[in-house]
Symmetry: C2
Subunit: 344 residues, 2 copies
Amino acid sequence: MAQTEINTLGEFGLIRHLTEQITPQQPTTVKGVGDDAAVMNYGGKRTLVTTDLLLEGVHFNLEYVPLKHLGYKAVVVNLSDIYAMNGTPTQIVVGLGISARFPVEAIDELYSGIRLACEKYGVDLVGGDTSASMTGLTISITCIGTAEEKDIVYRSGAKKNDLICVSGNLGTAYLGLQLLERERIALQGQKTGDEIDAFKGREYLLQRQLKPEARKDIIAALREAHIHPTAMMDVSDGLSSELLHICHESQCGCAVYEDKLPINYEAAKVAEEMNLNIVTCALNGGEDYELLFTCDIKDYEKLIPIEDIYIVGHITDAADGSILIGRNGEQLPLKAQGWNAFWE
Amino acid sequence: MAQTEINTLGEFGLIRHLTEQITPQQPTTVKGVGDDAAVMNYGGKRTLVTTDLLLEGVHFNLEYVPLKHLGYKAVVVNLSDIYAMNGTPTQIVVGLGISARFPVEAIDELYSGIRLACEKYGVDLVGGDTSASMTGLTISITCIGTAEEKDIVYRSGAKKNDLICVSGNLGTAYLGLQLLERERIALQGQKTGDEIDAFKGREYLLQRQLKPEARKDIIAALREAHIHPTAMMDVSDGLSSELLHICHESQCGCAVYEDKLPINYEAAKVAEEMNLNIVTCALNGGEDYELLFTCDIKDYEKLIPIEDIYIVGHITDAADGSILIGRNGEQLPLKAQGWNAFWE
């Protein structure tokens, strides 16, 4: 049998390879593979479903991630996918693979984070599967949500001249991770990320990495302002990667302005200290869980008063490509260099 | 911090411990933790959700489980949970953690099994999450299904004098596993379970372990016969364990007759050959994925013509306990000795 190494395909290549032969047959399936969440129609509101698998040593390192934060984050990253469809997350199911090295108290910590996220976002934990693991900690969370059909926002609706917007700031979670990695040896399992002296004043960066939030508030603000995004997704792999997804699905191009990228001051300082290019961090650093959306240019006036939303560019013709316009007007192609577990 | 080993709680104890503080808050949550699937009401048909996490070295051993069979089984065990609610599975999402030792062709094998199960049962694969794993193969499947509210069967509806019924036969998948374990050393990774000489004539037992089916046909037959079970679940941990769940949830007792247990002839022969008690295998062997249900005694005449359903006992008062009545009339308490990953 031929042997093709997975890393010759890449993460997205592998997913494409595995899913290209899959065509939905069920009349209830509205949208299958290829967006932040699947969409089903069971006769009432639409049902949204998304899933994430978090594996120890790949998606988290227990040397510096407190279990409570891990549980919280595991839930939030799923909620973020439902919000990115302009939906409301309502329930989660949790699969846990636990190695015998964890005492019950450790699992309680993990669960307390899961419960905290559920309470904060008004989501019910309705089921799961718990078993022993021979290896590391495994967390699988599936989130179910709902939306009115007319409200759902796919990746495929962006049109030429639409504004490209992002919430919050970009690259901060990535820099939080770099801080944690740098101090890892000093930790020696004695302290959690919260308690290290070297992190003083950088708590916000750590929080962005360890305890991100889903932008429920942005979804609510857009709704209140009667802005219906034309395309939307959450920023988990980095802005460049996500924008290329939207351009691919919407068959369009984009122009993003370097000087419009929302960057946190503390993050910029840490990037400089670590000899990292803050723009590269903002474009390619993952795990910000901010919302990236496009909307009609006629919504401009309605957008301006909304706090924490930044216009970073506009949608162009597909033929114009996906480009970054630098501070001096130079044009660079946007590339997906997002976080990719198979290459790390 | 106190350190309590997980195995002091047991699997069900741990689940109870983790979920006892969880009370559904969402008006859309009809039934949360505690049945084969959660039930949600989004305004149309009810939505059912169930999830399973399968971990290498715990739930499967790649030394003798072909990847295609593994993919098939991973889907089927989830479908089985939806059928056990008297629902119709409609979509799945798949989370895969893949170690770099697998070539793309191996993942294709796994996926071909997943697709085969989807085709056979008319279910759509609508999403997932694929990433590298630093350790073994991890498969997380969540299945979504639908049911009319009036059709849903919980574990809690059994009433005194109801008939206790099971489909198919019991203990066979467990004996298939014993055969595979016995021959494991002989395999040395050269052959798959299908190809071993020692398995000649025992293909059915292997199939029950490696490629189980969900009893969609039984659900259809019951519906056609206008039989509405009062309680139902699928037999994944063993008949005793599942019956005790139904008795606990329905606040009743049960009497099961040893000589009524449906046992496959080939399975009985293998049990004898291996010095295993076939009744113990039937009561406590897991992974049969048959349906266990109770129904009103007035449905007796309607039940009889249905193929592959066996009446094994009846529901009693809670005060009478859960008992097995032996061939000579002796009474033994039923005990949950089902498969339990933390104790193996």
